[in-house]
């Protein structure tokens, strides 16, 4: 049981990581990051069940709260970026370089 859950979690995490690394749309990148976070949540829940330890659930709730906050900030940045540049393409915001 737990093997399958962990395998799914790994699959989701890799999907999320690939999405975050390759997609150019900021909103998609944010979604990919959500996917990675939830992959981790899944793994935590699975291990929690395996060991009968509730600490994993606590962590999951914590991650959900932080993810919500992160999404709020990330979408705020995307919004103000779009207002200023009329674009959500991540390659258009590379001013902070040498």
């Amino acid at each position: 049981m737990v093997e399958k859950a962990v395998a799914l979690s790994a699959l989701l995490f890799v999907l999320g990581a690939l999405g975050a690394l390759t997609r150019r749309n900021l909103i998609v990148i944010l979604m990919s990051i959500e996917l990675m976070l939830n992959a981790v949540n899944l793994a935590l829940v699975a291990f929690s069940r395996q060991w009968g330890d509730l600490a994993g659930h606590v962590f999951v709730l914590m991650v959900i709260v932080v993810a919500a906050a992160e999404v709020a900030v990330g979408l705020g940045i995307v919004l103000s970026l779009f207002r200023n540049r009329e674009s959500v393409n991540v390659e258009d915001v590379s001013l902070l370089k040498w």
């Binding site: 990581a17 690394l21 991540v90 390659e91 915001v93 590379s94 001013l95 902070l96 370089k97 040498w98």
Partner: protein, 681 residues
């Protein structure tokens, strides 16, 4: 060892001048408000005067004590203590240091009084008047530490202190670059000597520690020295040309190290070159530091360490020969100088040579006797020359003087007394002390070539009379060479200046009666044990050889030296009074010789070429350009900065692409690397 009587007043001899200097320093440097003129005078002249009174009281106590108990001491605290070894801040007054203390405080007080008159026109905005007295008091403090300190370390402290004050006072008018240069020169040349002094202290301490007698206290040193008196050292083979090589007595080596220090401070060959240039300082400074007190510190040190030199005939011979050669060498230079203070400076070098000659011959009391009389007449001469310089509005060239007797009669009179005293006019102070020295050279049978030494000293006596009277004739007598419009403005100085001249004049005339030897005592019927009082007084503190000599011999020697001096005086009168056109003719005939002597034998230039310029160019090209600029600035400091900047701008900056996903990729890679390390490890 005699138990020293405690005398708590001694510390005040030393501390009063320090206190005065400290008050001046606080007022000038911290409060930035000069004291009033009256307060300055009371403080600065008062401190040495009270110190003199205390020293005099202590002297009375010394004299009252039986000869073998004439030691007073005052322990303040232990300065450096380790096990059984201790160097104390303690003062020791025995007959030797008592005589020096009285000279330093006595002549010092007179010169302070004189300075009031001399420095009065120093109205610059840096408060020169008070600064001058501050330095002068500080000098007196250092000098008294040097004289009264009861161990070598404390003496060295004073030794360095007087060097510092000498530097400060030579460069007192530092806005003129030349004066500052002369101050530095004096300081640096003295440092070379101090190096020898330090090595001497280390050697002595180390070799005494080897025999479990580690001490620096003079009285303990005298007790412990016989334990190392017979030790020898082996010189390295490249020093094989030295006499007595390859084995020397250890005491000879130590004695020579100490003498190097003495030669620096007391301006002996080869380190005499700073003293003539030290004349750049104000004239009272020249009188106090560079004639009467500081430059005799070397003589005092040799006499203080007489127990060492008594067992090292090699070092004593070196001292005697150095002294004699310096005496005649400096005297010949003095003949051709035209600066009134330069003549006196070379005369000082020459007279110091006399003192070392006496010390080297083992006649320490004669050396100290000459220190005392020399302090009187040379201070008088310098102060007199200062009065002349003031009257001439800071003109020092005797070629532009002449006939000043009519304008400044009192200065002339006192100056003449000084000239006669140094020339050895019978029964004046210089006559007695110089004869003692000539006698000691005559009698020093165990010294190699003592007849030659005597001949050199005798010739120097003639030269001394010649150049001093030349100076006097050129300055005060003959045709006036002063511009006509300036003549009405030449007048005698104020009482502040004339009063010390008078006191010193009297001392120069009668100072010899401190210790006339029995043979030359003009008062008939004085028992031998009551004549020569200074030497008798010093005898309990000094280990010098007591010589027995027939009265007739001594009188013949005196007559000879007076005759030679008289010859020099006559020659001076003939050349500069009776046929004044003659010197110019001689100068044209012997142009080369004259140029050579007038330029001080080009010794300064030779030193410059051999020592100064190689060192300067080494410093400039290797140390400065090579190491400081090249290695430290360019390679180490700027080089590392350049490397970091180049690496960052050439390589590292390309990692900062501004593309968020690039960074994210690196983060992912890094995480993967750490994770695989953890899993694999």
């Amino acid at each position: 060892m005699v138990e020293a009587g405690a005398y708590p007043l001694l510390r005040w001899i030393v501390l009063l001048p320090l206190l005065a200097a400290a008050i001046h320093g606080v007022a000038l440097a911290l409060l930035r408000r000069p004291l009033g003129r009256t307060a300055t005078l009371l403080l600065s002249v008062g401190a040495p005067a009270v110190a003199f009174v205390i020293a005099f009281l202590a002297l009375i106590r010394l004299i009252a004590a039986p000869p073998e108990q004439r030691v007073l001491s005052d322990l303040l605290f232990t300065w450096i203590g380790a096990g059984s070894f201790s160097a104390d801040v303690a003062f020791l007054l025995d007959p030797l240091s008592a005589v020096m203390t009285l000279v330093v405080t006595g002549v010092g007080t007179l010169i302070h009084v004189y300075s009031v008159g001399y420095m009065d026109d120093d109205h610059r905005e840096d408060r020169g008047f008070q600064r001058f007295f501050c330095y002068l008091n500080l000098f007196l403090f250092s000098m008294l530490v040097l004289v009264l300190g009861d161990n070598l370390v404390l003496m060295f402290l004073g030794w360095e202190g007087v060097g510092l004050c000498s530097y400060l006072l030579i460069g007192f008018w530092f806005s003129d670059r030349w004066n500052a240069y002369c101050g530095s020169k004096a300081f640096i040349v003295n440092r070379i000597g101090d190096f020898g002094f330090l090595i001497g202290i280390f050697l002595l301490f180390w070799s005494l520690a080897e025999v479990d007698a580690a001490t620096v206290n003079f009285r303990e040193l005298a007790e412990a020295l016989p334990r190392i008196a017979e030790q020898t050292v082996t010189l390295p083979s490249w020093l094989g040309f030295l006499p007595g090589a390859p084995t020397w007595k250890l005491t000879t080596l130590i004695g020579i190290c100490f003498f190097l220090g003495a030669a620096g401070k007391s301006a002996q060959i080869p380190l005499y070159i700073w003293l003539p240039d030290a004349m750049a300082g104000p004239t009272p400074v020249s009188a106090l530091i560079h004639a009467a007190t500081m430059v005799t510190a070397g003589v005092y040190m040799v006499c203080r360490l007489d127990f060492l030199y008594a067992v090292s005939p090699g070092a004593s011979a070196l001292i005697a020969w150095t002294g004699a050669i310096t005496a005649i060498f400096a005297a010949t230079i003095a003949i051709a100088q035209t600066d009134i203070k330069k003549v006196l400076a070379y005369s000082t070098v020459s007279q110091l040579g006399y003192m070392f000659l006496a010390a080297g011959c083992g006649a320490y009391s004669a050396a100290i006797f000459h220190v005392v009389t020399h302090a009187f007449f040379k201070a008088l001469l310098f102060l007199g020359s200062g009065a002349v310089i003031l009257a001439m509005h800071h003109e020092q060239d005797i070629d532009k003087m002449g006939g000043l007797r009519a304008h400044i009669p009192w200065t002339h009179r006192w100056f003449l007394l000084g000239v006669l005293a140094i020339a050895g006019f019978p029964f004046m102070s210089g006559f007695y002390s110089k004869d003692e020295i000539l006698l000691s050279a005559w009698l020093a049978h165990d010294l190699p070539g003592h007849q030659v030494l005597y001949a050199i000293a005798l010739a120097t006596a003639g030269l001394t009379a010649f150049y001093m009277l030349r100076l006097h004739f050129r300055t005060f007598l003959g045709e006036s060479r002063v511009p006509l419009e300036q003549r009405p403005h030449i007048h005698d100085p104020v009482q502040w200046i004339l009063a010390p001249l008078a006191v010193l004049g009297v001392l120069s005339v009668f100072g010899g009666f401190l210790g006339p030897s029995a043979a030359l005592n003009p008062v008939p019927g004085v028992a031998p044990e009551h004549s020569n009082s200074l030497a008798n007084f010093l005898a309990s503190a000094l280990h010098g050889a007591q010589h027995e000599v027939a009265f007739a011999t001594e009188r013949w020697l005196a007559v000879t030296s007076v005759a030679v001096a008289g010859l020099g005086a006559l020659l001076a009168a003939w050349l500069y009074l009776w046929s004044p056109q003659l010197p110019a003719r001689i100068r044209t005939v012997l142009a080369g010789l004259h140029r050579w002597v007038a330029n001080k034998y080009y010794v300064d230039e030779a030193y410059d070429a051999v020592f100064v310029r190689p060192v300067v160019s080494f410093s400039e090209n290797v140390l400065y350009r090579g190491i400081d600029v090249g290695l430290i600035d360019d390679a180490a400091v700027n080089g590392s900065a350049h490397f970091v900047r180049g690496f960052a701008s050439g390589v590292l900056r390309h990692f900062q692409s501004g593309l968020t996903q690039g960074y994210l990729f690196l983060v992912a890679l890094g995480t993967l690397a750490i994770a695989s390390y953890l899993v694999a490890g």
